[in-house]
Symmetry: C2
Subunit: 351 residues, 2 copies
């Protein structure tokens, strides 16, 4: 990993926008048959899936806000910029199809770093069968920004919204919680403030911690599970955990005009995250529930759809799915501890 | 107009992302029937036009690169951020349908300025029948950035690409050239370097100059004419003049494997721009041909399609269309002066 402006080789200011676009165009895999006009014209032209609706989402990663070039390699940043958008499409029950990449680059950005960004983005694009169809490159007088738009598709009546949860529905979450937040905390502590303290709390070669750092740098969008939940109509509401579980539970409950009770004993805390927060003297449940960037899915399942959920879990081989609580009548939201509802901690705040 | 950080009232850092999104959501007009899920969920869901292909494009306006808050009001910036994307869709022969708005805002941005941005964007969106369906808001540790993605539609076999021009096709341009570049030059001269010199060259109340400034701040995308050119199959190639006429001629010629000869006497130079560049002692043709940001359309018309072009011009009431030259065999590109081909000046460079 290198710092901004460090390292050798040509910069984007030496290369120019046109040459950069051509450089990207040359490394794209063969276009899918649905793509009629790709990178290099005023806009891309693509055929939508037959009988499907368009799913449209955009999400930007901003240097100094969402990533730190000391912790994330260019490939990590490119990977994550696409991952967070694929996650949004999955949380609607859709399948991502096409991506537009808007790069806003400081002039001293190394061309090798742009290549790295594309390496990471293309790695996930090809694993997810998403085609990079266009975008834009311009100069930044400030931070490096990677702004990605993804267009996906979803069949009518298979859309997963936030507002469909009903009292009595069970709350489920994929994967494990808190890893991305713990990974970022360790990176910050080790690199800046108190490296000795960071090492006392967790050794850099600890596999649990390494998994947390990996989750921060390369979140795994639950693309297949989201699409299956939509297709099988197993979920009544769904969203992704970009800003943490506590935030997602509140969002689904508020949008659905309902409450939610989470059983803290059921929460699938990540082992490495639990160890990190405990060593730091903090409540692992609270920290894992508040921590953002996990990009797991939170969804609600009506009693009558539990059989369909079992089918989804079988098809989405290997993705852990855990029941963590229930949608309730009324508007209270919290962790159910010894019969009392404790308020949820706050999630990630963008300003 | 106010400077960044100046003025009174709440800042986006006081308001927060959620409240800003809610503020935007509340002022949206009723959603078109094609929009099934709009602002406020993980992604938008929209029905594509029946039998149509998707046109996908994204373009960012970056403070200090594409706009200066001393010259452009927040409403101008919002208007232009959408206009440049509608122009890209029009240049493919498509019609813009949906927009995603990615705002990257310094924390001290006034909420009133975000309102202004939306005013300008919504004004053009409603005039162009484009629905704002989603987006993203995040903090910027540097400049204010407005990154817009537009999804449009185009019928199969009606797509206008850059690479379809053939030797013998006539070259046409809409509107007038050079106004945006002249307007920006005057604004820069008057505000910063030499206000007296700026006033000597052009009085601020000169209507020609005012039109130039207006064109810089609020370019008019040729949405209707582009869609008509595609629908009637009148053009063999098309692109917009984001980086100037000289650049667009080169792009179409290169993509089509052809050359181009422009007759400088035919070029529709903007009167205000011609006066400004002449007063500044520069060649008006060269300056108007190199100047970017006009967002007119350059297109090529085969001889057999001239009747169809006349029909398009009649339908696109009031948009000037001027024949400026011809696509040629070979690869030479230039201005034909006294039988010699002079090279075209260079266009806007992004790094």
């Amino acid at each position: 990993m290198s710092l901004p402006g460090s390292g050798d080789g040509p910069r984007v200011s030496d290369t120019g926008e046109r040459a950069l676009i051509e450089r990207i165009r040359r490394r794209l895999p063969p276009a899918p048959s649905a793509l009629l006009v790709g990178v290099g014209d005023d806009a891309a032209v693509a055929a939508p899936d037959r009988g499907a609706l368009q799913v449209l989402t955009t999400d930007a990663l901003v240097e100094g806000v969402h990533f730190d070039r000391r912790f994330s390699s260019p490939a990590d940043i490119g990977y994550k910029a696409l991952a967070v958008n694929i996650s949004d499409v999955a949380s609607m029950g859709g399948a991502a199809r096409f991506a537009l990449l808007s790069l806003i680059l400081p002039p001293d950005t190394l061309v090798a770093h742009v290549d790295g960004l594309l390496d990471g983005l293309m790695e996930l694009a090809s694993a997810s069968r998403v085609a990079l169809v266009g975008g834009n490159i311009t100069r930044s007088p400030g931070p490096l920004i990677v702004d990605v738009t993804v267009v996906g598709s979803v069949k009518p009546r298979k859309i997963l919204k936030r507002d469909g949860a009903k009292p009595g529905d069970a709350l489920y979450v994929t994967g494990q919680l808190g890893a991305a937040a713990a990974g970022l905390e360790w990176l910050r502590a080790a690199s800046r403030d108190e490296p000795a303290e960071a090492e006392r709390l967790a050794r850099p070669d600890d596999p649990g911690l390494a998994a947390c750092v990996e989750r921060h740098c390369r979140p795994e969008p639950r693309a297949r599970l989201g699409a299956l939940l939509g297709r099988n109509r197993a979920a009544s509401a769904c969203m992704d955990l970009s800003d943490g579980l506590a935030d997602a539970v509140s969002q689904i409950a508020c949008a659905s005009g309902a409450g939610a009770a989470i059983d803290p004993a059921l929460l699938p805390l990540h082992g490495g995250a639990r160890a990190w927060f405990a060593a730091a003297g903090r409540d692992p449940v609270g920290a894992c529930v508040a921590g953002g960037d996990d990009y797991e899915l939170l969804f609600t399942v009506p009693r009558r759809a539990r059989g369909r959920l079992r089918a989804v879990i079988r098809e989405a081989r290997g993705v852990p799915v855990t029941r963590i609580g229930e949608v309730t009548a009324g508007r209270s939201i919290g962790l159910l501890r010894d019969g009392t509802l404790e308020p949820l901690p706050a999630g990630f705040v963008h300003f």
